[in-house]
Symmetry: C2
Subunit: 207 residues, 2 copies
Amino acid sequence: MINNLSTEEKIKDAARKVFMTKGFSGCTTREIAKSVGINVALLNYYFRSKGKLFELILEAALSDLIDGMVEVFHQDMSLEDKTRLIIDKEFEFLKKYPEFPLFIHAGLNQESDTEMDLSSFLGRLYQTGIFEQCEKAQAEGKMRKVNMINVTLLFMSNCHFPIMSKKLISGIYQISEEEHENLLIAHQEIVKEMLINYLFPNTNQHA
Amino acid sequence: MINNLSTEEKIKDAARKVFMTKGFSGCTTREIAKSVGINVALLNYYFRSKGKLFELILEAALSDLIDGMVEVFHQDMSLEDKTRLIIDKEFEFLKKYPEFPLFIHAGLNQESDTEMDLSSFLGRLYQTGIFEQCEKAQAEGKMRKVNMINVTLLFMSNCHFPIMSKKLISGIYQISEEEHENLLIAHQEIVKEMLINYLFPNTNQHA
DNA sequence: TGAAAAATTAAGCGCTTGTTTAAAATAAGT
DNA sequence: ACTTATTTTAAACAAGCGCTTAATTTTTCA
């Protein structure tokens, strides 16, 4: 492991890892500091408090979430292709960071003095023109007339939940790590077909 | 509030409420005891430790989850009707206890000395005959040939996630409490139609 | 080179945590 | 009534918590 990162960055990396797996109140500042190889005091020297560090990590995670969508939305392709691409990208990302969905939702539900402001993310989505593209497709009858928030919910539900429910699903159905991986591979295709069929009913489903 | 419940039951009720909203490490035994109006020692007198109490609550919650499914599955009706009914029931239940999904998944991810055994739940699902009913429908070409675990995932994803993502969704889209309620009402119908269309493609979608 | 600035540490602060102990209050049984 | 069991409490335990202070090491740069 090369160690050319700044201390500040190393703390953030360690904090991200620990917060993601254990949550805010499930870990200690000493634990984070130890995993970096530094003193607790230094952690507070850079980030003032555990809470401020957590907010920083959470905000960055949310920003990553939006970044993934924006990257696909502003490309020049059909809505069907965007659908396929975003589901593939989302599954790929979430398989790499399976704690991500739970971390975000538990983090937002964490009672904190200041409620996090998420409004800035909406602007970034608007700038991609994805909403206009959908409106146009809906007006032309090519896309089912569904509120865009519901569409967001459909995508997130079917990508995030399968990942975060790993322990529940593999616990109930008594399946191994490997079987669960195959389950997700199959599910990715199911979700793609189901969402495309539902949102673009006139399209031939055999692309 | 009438107080004719046993102390043990009162502690469980309070613990359920507190654990659900704040998680295991997000609350203290003193907090739970105080909300019952008893001493911390009494809590440990009945349940030995915070961890044991938590496991009890989590297990009961998981049992409730399965109960809801079982209740529908073992009824005598078509798969399409069961689909509609279970989605309606699930939304109704989760709107009443919105912390439920997050609690279960965060709880299962809680590192604990003993991994919780969930295998008993599968047996209860089998006994309803739902799997045979699906196999038969699939053999007759009335139901899409999809693995039952994937089917489970589709249902849970589209019912649980919309509820648990309230803060994220209403934060990004800047919508009020009331608007989010209406969003869920619309989403419930969307999910029903989408899942029925996908799982039973030959059925006329205008039931 | 040497003084000022930045980075890092050891130690400890006050407080809270989960849990236990020993005593007191209440209920049960004979 | 009296002994025994059960339920409940007050108090305290050691350990760990987030965070700070004051000193020390390292870096900066004139």
